[in-house]
């Protein structure tokens, strides 16, 4: 058996047995949901419903109902798209990159982080689709044989790369998540007694048996999928950044974009994971599994990626001066002092200054403060995308076409609506799915569980 240094803090607190883990995770599914769950679901579903209404309104009237104009032709829609894709990245980072690095603390957070990824990518994909205006022609983005004079999609365009990147990312994340869920659905299937529920989880578990060969294959699939998902997640946000970087708009046309977007994505994604998990661990009583140490690890990722983002902002600013291109310099002066100065400084404060407080151990282990900071980072990262998109577009080469962007109620409704849909999906997940990876947690119980670790310390030659 693998032993772990005694100095490492335990990842599972208290005296848990394998059966306790099953019980703690499966009993919320068996029992009646608490009243708070129904209240939250009702609120989220109401907001989601309003979002769907706004989308239907947009589709029936056209994108003129948004605040876009000829100058600012990408605004909240693409801001929201990039924001949601970015949030998704943390799930893959936790489940794939941390798997490759053999970080055991991922096991308590990967399942819900991956769920978050999938729901966030669904929300992200909504925006380019509705931005097309004619949703029913959405399939034109795929290279399908057609009757328009063999008119193919343009494989030189980053927008098409994005179609491939996002659809690959979504489907691979879904498969990765579901393959991990199958053994846990089997655990639920074998535990439940109510026939209809047993039947439902029996279908979901695909008849998982848990024999030795199946587990060998399971581990191989997890490893290879993690190995594929790791470069994939980096490629996705790099491609998203190339939607901007390959254009000639001042403020967009920079080579720093891919790494800067990727670290920003991880930064915002971890913030969203914390927002969700800090509530979930409390409501579902998962304090023994998602410990303060887990929160601290995630806060450390936030401070690292936040600092990378900060360095990128400052580099961008420096190069705009050092490069000596007057359009480029103006784009950045305009960001900081122009009519959208407030969004630039909101971004700087939320993303660069505020995460630095996590250097203090007291603050990064304080749950209430971490929750507050996770919201701040989410807001900051939304502003980052707004700053990049709107302030770069609204004043470009031709002063006669300078303009401002004013969001309409449809812009706001769809954005808030996607948050509602996201939370509706997440609440349904938390109610009916195993929120922690049961099989993975059990495999580290004897090496990282609190009571077992203590036994090892007393009997080193156990």
């Amino acid at each position: 058996m693998q032993h772990e240094a005694a100095i490492r803090e335990p990842l599972i607190l208290g005296h848990k047995t394998y059966h306790d883990i099953t019980h703690d995770i499966v009993s919320p599914i068996e029992n009646k949901a608490p009243r708070a769950w129904y209240v939250l679901l009702a609120i989220a579903a109401l907001i989601a419903g309003y979002g769907v209404f706004c989308i239907m309104y947009l589709l029936s009237k056209g994108i003129g109902t948004w605040g876009l104009n000829k100058t600012v032709d990408w605004a909240w829609d693409i801001t929201n798209f990039v924001w949601w894709v970015g949030i998704g990245h943390a799930g893959t980072l936790i489940s794939a990159v941390l798997l490759l690095f053999r970080q055991k603390w991922r096991m308590a957070v990967n399942r819900s982080a991956e769920a978050m990824t999938i729901f966030a990518v669904i929300m992200a994909a909504t925006f380019p689709l509705i931005h097309m205006g004619r949703l029913w022609l959405g399939y034109w983005v795929f290279p399908l044989p057609n009757q328009f004079g063999s008119l193919w999609v343009n494989f030189n365009s980053p927008l098409l790369w994005d179609v491939f990147a996002i659809s690959t990312y979504f489907s691979v994340s879904l498969v990765f998540w579901y393959i991990g869920l199958i053994p846990d659905f089997a655990t639920i299937r074998d535990r439940l007694t109510k026939p209809s529920w047993k039947k439902a989880y029996s279908i979901l578990s695909f008849g998982w048996t848990g024999n030795a060969k199946a587990w060998t294959r399971f581990e191989e699939v997890s490893l290879v999928l993690a190995g594929c998902a790791t470069p994939l997640v980096f490629s996705v946000h790099s491609v998203v950044s190339m939607d901007f970087a390959t254009s000639i708009i001042p403020g967009w046309h920079t080579t720093i974009f891919p790494p800067y977007f990727v670290s920003g994505a991880v930064f915002s994604g971890f913030a969203m994971v914390l927002t969700l998990l800090l509530v979930m661990r409390k409501v579902m009583k998962l304090e023994s599994y998602i410990t303060i140490k887990h929160v601290e690890y995630m806060n450390i990722v936030i401070i690292v990626t936040g600092s990378i983002v900060g360095v990128a902002y400052i580099t961008e600013l420096f190069i705009s001066w050092y490069g000596g291109v007057e359009y480029e310099s103006y784009a950045f002066i305009n960001r900081a002092t122009g009519p959208y100065w407030w969004s630039y400084w909101a971004m700087m404060t939320c993303n660069v200054v505020s995460p630095q407080v996590f250097w203090f151990k007291k603050l990064r282990t304080n749950l209430v403060f971490t929750f507050f900071m996770s919201i701040v980072v989410n807001i900051g990262m939304w502003f980052e995308r707004f700053v990049i998109i709107v302030t770069s577009l609204h004043r470009d080469y031709l002063p006669s076409s300078w303009s401002m962007f004013h969001p309409t109620w449809v812009d706001a409704g769809i954005f808030i609506g996607t948050i509602g849909i996201f939370f509706t999906l997440f609440l349904l997940f938390a109610r009916y799915f195993p929120v922690l990876a049961l099989n993975e947690l059990k495999s580290i119980l004897k090496s990282s569980g609190e009571s077992y670790k203590n036994e090892q310390t007393h009997h080193p030659h156990h």
């Binding site: 030189n156 535990r191 048996t209 024999n211 191989e220």
Partner: protein, 177 residues
């Protein structure tokens, strides 16, 4: 004599591994092991070969690479070449840099989905399949060794249970099969 199947139930993966080693050393053949999570180091003891799923994934991956390059060559260079932004599509090699992202994504797409489908089929885990684990506790907290008399010629069920009783076994179940 009717064939018998014996299930030895353990409550710890390390104890199970010890028992499996003892059985194999004594010349018995273990049919299978059921556990709630992967027991590392068990496969060589009970004689399970390394899975070839990784090779399958690689094959699916290069299939994806080839299909992507071939498709883009056909669409952009052969069927309908166009001058896009001053970047003419006359020759494949000139256009290769712009084809890298889609080639990469399609490689990953084919490798992952091909591997996942192969995995599900090989494990016989598909929607609607019945569960075949001998005991519902094997997905919770019990580790079960399955032995069959048909695999161990010349040895009776009593021989097997006798040996199992010498290990820290949780319980032993015997069934006709």
């Amino acid at each position: 004599m009717a064939n018998k199947v014996i299930y030895a139930v353990y409550d710890d993966p390390e104890v199970l591994k010890g028992a499996a080693r003892k059985l194999v050393t004594a010349g018995y053949t273990v049919r299978d092991v059921f556990s709630p999570f992967p027991v590392h180091g068990l496969d060589p003891i009970i004689g399970i070969k390394r899975t070839r799923l990784g090779i399958a994934a690689f094959m699916f991956g290069i299939t994806g690479t080839s299909l992507a390059l071939l498709g883009m060559y056909y669409m952009m260079i052969y069927d309908w070449p166009m001058n896009i932004g001053g970047k003419p599509n006359d020759f494949f090699y000139q256009n290769i840099p712009a084809f890298i992202p889609v080639t990469f994504e399609f490689t990953i797409l084919c490798a992952c989905h091909g591997m996942a489908i192969t995995y599900l089929i090989r494990n016989k885990t598909l929607p609607g399949m019945p569960a075949r684990n001998p005991d519902p506790r094997s997905t919770d907290d019990k580790f079960i060794i399955e032995l069959r008399t048909e695999d161990n010629h010349g040895r009776s069920a009593e021989d097997i249970t006798g040996l199992l009783r010498g290990t820290p076994v949780f319980e032993i179940n015997e069934r006709q099969c």
